[in-house]
């Protein structure tokens, strides 16, 4: 460590650059955040509809397997054999009646209980496990599980608040806006490896400032701009947040004079890509960030979970699951698939973000002595804002982060 880990005195309106690259801090984040008392997103129940269906994913650095149990419940186990530690599951999605590690065929049921150990009694009275070897002590590590309206969250902690308490009422209301209890239908996946620290992804979504400057596509078509009505909600602890906006018009006004990149005559050769229908009340866009690993995207008719999977201090995987509702007609599915062109590793909008995050990491990583300035709209934060000309969500995030990390 070539720098002193001290937060600038000014508070959360400065973010010291060592938080994005320090390997010791990264190891501590794994312990306190990803293995700590937090609900991490792991799956949609629609991905594992039948008993024995499983999905392999990650909570922080650790691989986990989300399994539909025989009784219809959901079990989440660490993807690590209790014997010698093999990561036994190697496929994203699949089906199995039991779990068997390929190395020595230790076998587990769908709840993670160890059911068989070869040569446990030895061969011809030789070898075998000690007489007091108890299968019950050698199950897979099970995670706590929370489910709400078809979405599965897990935690390595045993005792933690309910998912509903964890979200807080104002954020829960916005979660339920998309996940209202209707059945979901998975449309597909996108995965990208972004060469930047995982916290930059949260900052990007918690930052309505950049959306009106960077995203020529969004701002020219009036999909998301600060001169349109905005609403920001932050949970009482500062760890989750939502930004909501209403679609505006493609025209220059006094209010968007600073948006130099707005192209008034930008048109689509095929306008069918942007043919949204009103699906939810009030806002046309609602982007929610849930500590510690989820972005819930509702941009017109594209709805997706973006799961952050850490890959060391300088990279993360962004795993996108696009979905619709089980009752969608063909036209709605088509609409969601077309609008998906805006998002993902080839998104008309999100390419700007992944590229900007990579450039940020390039500037930040060699400069642990520097600090980001996060002062748009003040140096503190409030739970509710009626405009988007603010970086308050980022300040709230680091307020909470500092408490968790004791920085």
């Amino acid at each position: 460590m070539s720098h002193e880990r001290r937060w600038p005195n000014i508070g959360p309106s400065r973010v010291p650059y060592w938080v994005y690259s320090d390997p010791d801090l990264y190891a501590l984040e794994q312990q306190r955040i990803f293995q700590g008392p937090n609900w991490s997103y792991v799956a949609l129940e629609a991905e594992i509809p039948n008993p024995g269906d499983f999905k392999r994913t990650f909570v922080g650095d650790k691989s986990v397997v989300v399994i539909r149990a025989k009784d219809g419940g959901v079990t989440v186990v660490e993807n690590r054999c209790a014997h010698r530690g093999l990561q036994f599951c190697q496929t994203h999605l699949g089906h199995a009646d039991e779990i068997m590690c390929p190395y020595h065929q230790w076998t587990y049921d769908l709840d993670g209980n160890c059911t068989a150990v070869p040569f446990r009694r030895g061969v011809k009275r030789q070898g075998g496990m000690p007489a007091d070897f108890d299968l019950a002590e050698h199950g897979l590590r099970r995670l706590s599980v929370a489910r709400r309206h078809g979405v599965v969250f897990a935690s390595f902690a045993d005792a933690l608040e309910t998912f509903e308490e964890y979200l807080s009422p104002p954020i829960l209301e916005l979660f339920d806006r998309v996940f209202d209890g209707r059945g979901l239908k998975v449309l597909g996946y996108s995965r990208q490896l972004i060469p930047a620290n995982w916290k930059l992804m949260f900052e990007n979504i918690k930052d309505p400032y950049h959306a009106s400057i960077l995203h020529v596509f969004l701002l020219s078509f009036g999909l998301n701009r600060v001169d349109q009505p905005n609403r920001i909600v932050i949970d009482p602890k500062g760890r989750h947040a939502s930004t909501m906006t209403w679609r505006g018009e493609q025209k220059r006004t006094d209010d968007n004079a600073d948006m130099r990149s707005l192209i008034e005559d930008l048109t689509l050769n095929d306008p069918s890509m942007l043919d949204p229908v009103r699906e939810y009340p009030q806002y046309t866009v609602c982007m929610t960030t849930l500590w510690p690993n989820l972005i819930l995207q509702q941009q017109s008719n594209t709805i997706a979970t973006r799961q952050i999977i850490t890959k060391g201090p300088n990279a993360f995987e962004l795993a996108w699951t696009f979905f619709g509702y089980a009752g969608d007609d063909e036209a709605m599915t088509k609409r969601r698939l077309r609008q998906a062109n805006l998002m993902g590793p080839s998104g008309f909008v999100s390419i700007d973000d992944s590229e900007a995050m990579a450039m940020a990491q390039q500037g930040i990583a060699p400069a642990p002595e520097g600090a980001a300035v996060v002062e748009l709209d003040g140096r503190s934060w409030r739970q509710e804002e009626a405009h988007g000309v603010t970086e308050s969500q980022i300040r709230a995030f680091y307020d909470y982060y500092r408490r968790v990390m004791e920085l």
């Binding site: 060469p195 020529v216 930008l266 050769n269 998906a340 062109n341 080839s346 390419i351």
Partner: protein, 164 residues
């Protein structure tokens, strides 16, 4: 539309196809993106799809273009609206096979590999997969009616900006 195509002898057909793929990749490698929609019919279907979606029958594409207009909109984005670090992408196509006919369209398969060179990095393998194409004859020229790029490397290194 494709009577000429059907009448071609196998060797001539192979030569025409080899030229089509060489012209196509050269157009993209040389970043003449404005010429790229000209390789397609109207309407057309161009998709880049991760193998996991393709094999499971999940409809989401990483890129979805359903007309020449869509292709042109991608070019406008590259030229006018997107922010991205400078890069070069070079494409190699090999193992071109003729699978058969779908109506008047010739079905082909080929492997492709795309290599990416960024400013401060050595060249890396960027995206590898298979083309699943449908080709027709349009006024004496071969055009793609459908081009589906199914990629093996599910994790995209950051952004996929230029066509494959």
């Amino acid at each position: 539309m494709s009577a000429r195509l059907r009448a071609l002898q196998h060797r001539e057909l192979r030569a025409d196809l080899d030229a089509l793929y060489a012209d196509y990749t050269a157009c993209l490698d040389e970043e003449r993106f404005e010429d790229w929609p000209g390789f397609f019919t109207e309407p057309c279907l161009y998709k880049i799809v991760p193998r996991e979606n393709f094999e499971r029958g999940l409809p989401l594409a990483t890129w979805l273009c359903e007309s020449k207009g869509y292709l042109q909109d991608r070019v406008v984005a590259i030229r006018k609206t997107l922010l991205f670090a400078p890069r070069r992408i070079r494409r190699m196509v090999s193992g071109l096979r003729i699978i058969g006919w779908d109506g008047d369209a010739l079905e082909t398969r080929a492997s492709y590999a795309a290599f990416e060179t960024l400013t401060d990095e050595t060249t890396r393998v960027f995206n590898v997969g298979a083309y699943r194409d449908k080709i027709v004859d349009e006024a004496g020229a071969l055009k793609f009616r459908e081009k589906i790029c199914v990629f093996d490397s599910l994790l995209v290194p950051n952004s996929l900006i230029y066509p494959l």
